[in-house]
Amino acid sequence: MEYQIQIAGKTYDLELENHRPEIKIIYRGKPVPYDFKQIHANLYSLILYGKQYRVWLKSAGNGSYNLVLDQTPFTVEVEDERQRLRKSFRTAETKSTGVTEILAPMPGLVSQIEVEADQQVEAGQGLLIVEAMKMENEIKSPVNGTVKKIHVNQGDAIEKDALLLEINEMV
């Protein structure tokens, strides 16, 4: 089975051969010498071409992974050919609606809302202030656009990734 793996802006085409009980990984026609062992829950030790890596690996489902490799974070997508085909199809269908959702980057308290519905905002402009760990953190707009809807009120306690507001992106 062939796989395409996307990581850090790169794509690797790897092939898996099943020689029970061993699994061979083939890269550019040559077997990759590796040894992968679980140390604790999501922590693994990978020895690859003799090099040793401590790998923190969490599956986000559907072949998506969050990885930390020797203190560097990565996100990874593993896809076989069928999945790749399906996904590219789906992506084409649901092409950007032009709405940017602003999610809470951390749990906290909405201490101030600095914009109103329908207000025009620029990228980098402050939208609201979330207080957490006794610090006020300003959430800024990542895009130019207009405020479509505000989903929270001042004083609300919010969870991480709560939907704070939506912005209609300017094209």
Binding site: I7, R28, L69, F74
Partner: protein, 500 residues
């Protein structure tokens, strides 16, 4: 000496104080809020009492409840740590009235030196230079604008009752004053219940250098030399070291003497810190006094060989300082990195969650002061400091190399931390050559971003693929698969492939 001490704090500093208690045969009493039941400081204590729900006002700041617990468990003294009630003169006074020792300065000294403006006045009287600015609180935006025009922009708005960067705002021009003035007042009121703010000239390229002080009730005061804490984000320290590479022996001695002078004249007792800013021309200015144990006290402990918390106990118990100034001979170089639950890649936003995996570094010259263990939950209610990593070595260069090594060993998964940021910082040439100031981060914005780690991406791809296929055994490389020469076949392949 006390037989039982209550620690009115949580996290790493509570653990730090418990350790000092245990080394002196003193029983350590912890208090905890509801979400802190399983915290490390509770587990290491001899006794532990629930003090209230999560919000600090209802638990760690609840003076009535804390005093009730002290009465209940029979503690003779209270160590407040830093933050919470550490610089609250009313709490110190209340304990005094109940016949309980407050392990810190007398209430009057907290009030005098804790008021930034009063302290500035005292410094002026003692001929210790202060930063140009106001000596009285500013009541209105126009007044602030007028004064700022006089001393010249940029200026800093600061909370009179402040500390830790709270209620502080930098203002570059008159038009920014209104918004910043309000924000500073609000933050000051929320943090300290006191919204007085004042103005100071904002120095260019200043370095933050502070002197550790010890003073007993017999009027003896000494300093334990300096710490440089110029690496900051949001006016809060990230990295501290001792000694500072900036100071000449003469300047060091002059500043140390100034610090002791201020301490003596303020009637101060116990441990404290006199903070200075030093500009590029080596002018120093008194900044403020911290009337408590500092987060960064371990770097002083390591170069002087003293246990500052034990020294606090001795002083609070009425003992005489056992050291004279000439007995304090610093040795080597110590460095501290504060491990915060923050994502440096996202402007140091707080990160919360469960510590899913933890492996703290060890070995030669490494000290870890930690408030967490595997399974600990990091809540949004309190300060995001998880642990402090401190190293010592014979030289600054070796200390930096050792810190790098320790940071690379340090595994914390489940929340984002400042560890990856420190690894990048310690590789920076300006940092390594000591070319730093409190504006360092603003001037090296790239440091806050997570690297791409391109040379590890193939290892990441392989790891994910193996996991995706259910972690089946790999084709293990045996040492004898090579042909014994340095040119073994797979190795050459390997090297090439890894460079794609």
């Amino acid at each position: 000496m006390f037989k039982k001490i209550l620690i009115a704090n949580r996290g790493e500093i509570a653990v730090r104080i418990i350790r000092a208690c245990h080394e002196m045969g003193i029983e350590a009493v912890a208090i905890y809020s509801e979400p802190d039941r399983k915290s490390l400081h509770v587990q290491l204590a001899d006794e532990a009492y629930l003090i209230g729900p999560a919000p600090a006002l209802e638990s760690y700041l609840n003076q009535e409840k804390i005093i009730a617990v002290i009465k209940q468990c029979g503690a003779e003294a209270v160590h407040p740590g830093y933050g919470f009630l550490a610089e609250n003169s009313r709490f110190a006074q209340k304990l005094h009235e109940h016949g309980i020792k407050f392990i810190g300065p007398p209430a009057a000294a907290i009030e005098l030196m804790g008021d930034k403006m009063a302290a500035r006045k005292l410094a002026g009287q003692q001929k210790v230079p202060t930063i140009p600015g106001t000596l009285e609180p500013i009541s209105s935006v126009p007044e602030a604008q007028k004064i700022a025009d006089e001393i010249g922009y940029p200026v800093l708005l600061k909370a009179a009752a402040g500390g830790g960067g709270k209620g502080m705002r930098l203002i570059h021009e008159s038009s920014e004053m209104e918004k910043s003035f309000r924000a500073a007042q609000n933050e000051a009121r929320a943090a300290f219940g006191d919204d007085r703010v004042y103005l100071e000239k904002y120095l260019l390229q200043p370095r933050h250098i502070e002197f550790q002080i010890l003073a007993d009730k017999f009027g003896n005061a000494i300093h334990l030399w300096e710490r440089e804490c110029s690496i900051q984000r949001r006016h809060q320290k990230l990295v501290e070291e001792s000694p500072s590479v900036l100071l000449s022996p003469e300047l060091r001695e002059e500043m140390g003497n100034a610090a002791v002078r201020l301490t003596r004249t303020s009637g101060y007792q116990n441990a404290g810190t006199i903070e200075f800013l030093v500009d590029a021309q080596l002018n120093y200015y008194f900044l403020e006094m911290n009337t408590r144990l500092q987060v960064e006290h371990p770097v002083t402990e390591w170069v002087t060989g003293l246990d500052l918390v034990k020294q606090q106990f001795f002083i609070a118990a009425g003992e005489r300082l056992s050291l004279r100034q000439e007995d304090v001979r610093p040795n080597g170089h110590a460095l501290e990195c504060r491990v915060y639950a923050e994502d440096s890649g996202s402007n140091f936003l707080p990160s919360t969650g469960e510590i899913a995996y933890l492996q703290e570094p060890g070995g030669i010259g490494v000290r870890c002061d930690s408030g967490i263990q595997m399974g600990s939950i990091v809540y949004p209610y309190y300060d995001s400091l998880l642990a402090k990593l401190i190293v010592w070595a014979g030289s600054r260069r070796e200390a930096i190399d050792r810190m790098q090594r320790a940071l690379r060993e340090y595994l914390v998964f489940g929340v984002e931390t400042t560890i990856p940021f420190f690894i990048r910082l310690l590789e920076n040439d300006d940092f390594r050559s000591g070319n730093i100031s409190t504006h360092f981060l603003a001037e090296h914005k790239g440091l806050a971003e997570n690297g791409t780690g391109n040379n590890k991406s193939f290892a990441g791809a392989v790891s994910s693929l193996i996991h995706f296929n259910g972690q089946k055994p790999g084709s293990v490389l045996h040492a004898n698969e090579g042909d014994g020469s340095t040119d073994s076949k797979w190795k050459i392949i390997g090297r090439k492939e890894m460079l794609v």
